[in-house]
Symmetry: C2
Subunit: 213 residues, 2 copies
């Protein structure tokens, strides 16, 4: 365990909400052993900032306009930039959690977390341990059990949720309405729901479908 006075944990905050940035800075800035070295309001800005600002750990918002948290993690991996990262978001949609972990996040915090929990998570992740609240870990485990939807099924799911019929989806994808039915059935089975309507609502609630637009 590193001496906190000699080597403070350098944190970069990435969030498009000014309130959250200010709140994190104020909650963490006064903590011994923790130093907020910068903040960015988007993934692009964060990557740019990382070129000049040495940081140990990212506090990363998932849903941001433009390059979101997942995109940012992937971009970092592509650029061989390896920083530890904690995803900090308002949502506990299990698809979000799953994708964050897949993209390389070592921790996942909800924005209703208290100061103590945040600091605990930061120290844990900086020390090399993963950190997930109990509910989040449970959701993650549950998600791990499920099969991913295929690319085709995701296309169908998006259209289905917008109220298109199988025939309309078929026309849009240039396949038969019968085939669309099979994709829908596969979706229903994988999501463990009873019909297309529940598939749509479940997809939104689990974060499989974007709710913005």
């Amino acid at each position: 365990m590193p001496d906190q006075r000699d080597t403070p944990i350098r944190i970069l905050i990435v969030d498009d909400h000014p309130v959250v940035v200010a709140g994190l800075a104020s909650m963490l800035g006064t903590q011994p052993g923790i130093e907020v070295v910068g903040s960015a309001s988007s993934g692009e800005e964060a990557l740019e900032l990382l070129r000049t600002t040495p940081a140990d750990l990212l506090l990363l918002d998932l849903r941001m306009p433009g390059m979101n948290g997942i995109d940012t993690l992937h971009a970092m991996r592509s650029s061989k930039i390896t920083k530890r990262a904690i995803v900090l978001t308002s949502f506990e949609a299990d698809e979000d959690i799953y994708r964050a972990v897949q993209a390389g996040a070592q921790g996942y915090l909800l924005k209703d977390a208290c100061q103590t929990e945040m600091i605990e998570a930061i120290r844990a992740v900086h020390g090399g341990t993963r950190y997930f609240p109990r509910d989040i870990a449970a959701r993650l485990a549950e998600r791990m059990m499920r099969t991913d939807l295929t690319a085709r099924e995701l296309e169908v799911l998006h259209m289905l949720a917008r109220g298109l019929t199988n025939k309309e989806i078929g026309s849009a994808l240039d396949i038969s309405g019968n085939t669309v039915r099979n994709h829908v059935n596969s979706i229903i089975e994988k999501l463990e729901v009873s019909d297309r309507t529940e598939a749509a609502t479940t997809a939104i609630l689990r974060g499989i479908i974007e709710t913005h637009g």
Copy 2:
């Protein structure tokens, strides 16, 4: 217009996210003419605090565990407590906006608002003017044009979104499946969607249905 130095606007923050409370306090606390006199993490706590702490304006989170923002506004109205209130939330679901205004909120801010906008909103609402961002105002106007769903239709909508068939809904409500069909048709018409599936997703996206549980 009151002299800012003599009569600062006394603000009470109500939000269950410690980060947001800290952020607002840090963003607003240093502003001339604005004073944050307290914070509460729930509606109940806010009402309790209002007994002893004089405040001019509430910054109120909509979605909180227990008594939420709308409930709090209603409770204040019942208790003849008239405070100006700005609802501050992450969501721009038009049903949320509509209900907030119906409950007596004079302003609606998204949490991605910048410091300037927040201060502008606070000064406007304290001065007696309503404040709504352009998008929000548009959504509100659109919502105003629509007809409210009846209590029965809301019941049906909830079950529909959980994937129940008309017959199953009928059994649960102890009415005929035919009747449920009529309710569903009415829902589809009022929401201006094409089928039950889009009705369900639209209900979630517009905030008609709670997404927690």
